[in-house]
């Protein structure tokens, strides 16, 4: 039996190609139990393939992996018993109601009738689908379908859940609901392997992030560690008039490169957005008695991360394999 000390997922040297297209080029990962791990990358980076392999849907060409202590090559049945998968495209039965979908999962998990009903009712309640539960799921909105999909995954009480781009295509409100649900899951001790193309999402949720590009992990660490490696964070200052702009430029030039926009009356100053760095900036402006109308902090986004880590913009291969 697996114990708590061992990682929920351990991967070494995983490779996979389709024909002569290399999709995963030897990836190594360790995900401690009870944490959220995010695989961050653009379309075509190999995220879905990684999930498909770890979820026993596809076989790797080489490399080893353990999920919940079970060997991927020899114990796929045991792995299937301990995982849940919610894909990018909600895999619900559109002809059944939400409740019937959950009962189907209960039957397939070999729960008793009574236990299945109890579980279905509990999940409908928890995912705010009580009313919708009686309706056929083709009538659901994108967010509702995604919630039902995740609820179906939870019927089997998985210890590791793979979430493949769980919020892609959702509106901001549904996305935030999804984030809340994911946080609750991990609070109950479940391990989550999340793939996403949004840095913000990985930043919000993940304990650790690995950046995947062209089938390789190009960086790994906490959100903080990754962002620190990325230039591109800056502070934008807006002034009331050209005179104040010039004064500000003069006061800050000593501290580093400053770029001024005379028409918009703004200055851009490199800054990592940390409290300390901001205070230093403000002290400097105060010291020179410069009046600033507005200050805004710009943290790097996925494009900056990608450009910094890979040297190419991330949308260069949108049409590649998912």
């Amino acid at each position: 039996m697996p114990t708590h000390a061992q990682p929920a997922i351990a991967v070494t040297g995983l490779r996979k190609s389709y024909g002569d297209k290399l999709v995963l080029d030897g990836i190594d990962l360790t995900v401690p139990a009870g944490t959220i791990f995010s695989l961050l990358g653009p379309n075509g980076a190999g995220k879905t393939t990684a999930v498909e392999i770890l979820a026993t849907l596809k076989k790797p060409d080489s490399g080893e992996a353990q999920v919940n202590g079970f060997d991927l090559a020899r114990q796929s049945d045991e792995i299937r018993m301990s995982i849940g998968v919610t894909g990018q495209f909600a895999a619900v039965d559109g002809y059944l109601t939400g409740e019937e979908n959950l009962l189907l999962m209960a039957d397939l998990n070999h729960l008793s009738k009574q236990e299945g009903r109890r579980k279905a009712a509990e999940l409908l309640e928890r995912f705010d689908l009580v009313e919708a539960g009686k309706k056929v799921s083709t009538t659901y909105s994108g967010g509702m379908r995604r919630r039902l999909d995740l609820a179906m995954t939870l019927v089997g009480d998985p210890r590791v859940i793979f979430l493949d781009e769980p919020t892609t295509g959702l509106d901001p409100r549904s996305r935030h609901t999804m984030w809340q649900i994911i946080r609750q899951l991990v609070a109950n001790g479940t391990t989550i392997f999340l793939t996403t193309q949004y840095l913000e999402e990985a930043d919000e949720l993940a304990d650790r992030i690995a950046v995947l590009d062209h089938g390789r992990i190009v960086a790994e660490g906490t959100a903080e560690q990754l962002k620190r490696r990325i230039p591109g964070g800056h502070v934008s200052l807006r002034f009331a008039d050209p005179r104040a702009l010039r004064a500000g430029e003069l006061a800050l030039r000593a501290a580093g490169e400053v770029s001024a926009d005379e028409d918009a009356l703004t200055l851009q100053v490199p800054n990592d957005g940390s409290f300390r760095a901001l205070r230093a900036l403000i002290d400097r402006l105060d010291g020179a008695a410069v009046e600033v109308e507005e200050l805004s902090v710009h943290t790097p986004d996925l494009d900056d991360v990608f450009f910094a880590l890979t040297g190419h913009p991330h949308d260069s291969q949108k049409d590649a394999l998912r």
Binding site: T56, L57, G87, A91, G94, L96, L104, D107, L108, H110
Partner: protein, 258 residues
């Protein structure tokens, strides 16, 4: 529980799912029965007078009904191809594959569910045939034979269609599987006897699988001796069912490694 019990249990769950679909959308079953019923009326009332005279085998409705029943089996099989294809494109098959369930149960549920639906539409077509004057002369054993043969044909065609649904690009392509199957009986002895056809076509009509199957069905229904064609019919059905089953199984498993 042993793995066989689990496989049975999972297959029953999958079957329930398919029957729930059929119950919720009865139009699917009805529309499957509609085309053969329309054909039956067309051939009996519109063409029947002219064709029947040339055949001289008694009442034309008795001649054409077995052929129409075969068509009903064919159009029933379209349902499974579409439904498997939808499962595949919607990703629910992938969900099933990440669960600790018997893999065979997914397709078994689909196929058994579809065969039941097909049998319902076959019964509907038979009822309409009886209403318009079809008078079978089969005894209890004959009817047993009819039911057995229809089931065997349905399983064969349904497994082949299910495999096709797995490899089809989408539901639309999958729905096209029915067309050749539906028209194949026409190029045999469903509507007329092959003797009236030109040489090349006659040769095809005599040796294609549906001719011995429909011939056997007709003989069973009309209480006539079946003869050697019965074995040929059963052989074709078994070959079709096995080929379809193994094709579907390999298509289902192949998706795991590609």
């Amino acid at each position: 529980m042993s793995s066989t019990t689990l496989a049975m249990r999972d297959s029953m769950t999958m079957l329930r799912r398919n029957l729930l679909h059929a119950k919720r959308y009865p139009n699917m079953t009805l529309s499957v029965a509609f085309i053969p019923i329309f054909m039956l009326l067309l051939f009996v009332y519109v063409f029947g007078g002219a064709i029947g005279k040339g055949l001289a085998t008694g009442d034309y409705v008795n001649f054409v009904t077995p052929g129409i029943l075969m068509m009903a089996t064919m159009s029933g099989s379209v349902v499974v191809a579409v439904s498997v294809s939808v499962d595949k494109t919607e990703g629910i098959i992938n969900r099933f594959r990440t669960m600790p369930i018997s893999r065979a149960s997914v397709m078994t549920g689909q196929v058994v569910g579809s065969v039941i639906q097909t049998m319902i539409s076959v019964v509907l077509v038979t009822l309409v045939a009886l209403l318009i004057g079809f008078r079978p002369a089969a005894g209890p054993l004959g009817w047993l034979g009819v039911i057995g043969l229809m089931l065997l044909v349905a399983f064969a065609i349904t497994w082949i269609s299910a495999a096709f649904g797995l490899i089809a690009k989408g539901a639309e392509t999958a729905s096209n599987i029915g067309l050749p199957f539906q028209f194949l009986p026409f190029l045999g002895n469903a509507i007329v006897t092959p003797e009236s056809m030109p040489a090349g076509l006659r040769w095809f009509a005599e040796y294609q699988p549906f001719t011995p199957i429909i011939g056997t069905l007709r003989a069973l229904l009309m209480g006539q001796p079946v003869g050697g064609q019965g074995l040929v019919a059963i052989a074709w059905c078994l070959a079709g069912a096995f080929a379809g089953y193994f094709w579907a199984r390999s298509a289902f498993n192949r998706r795991a490694d590609s």
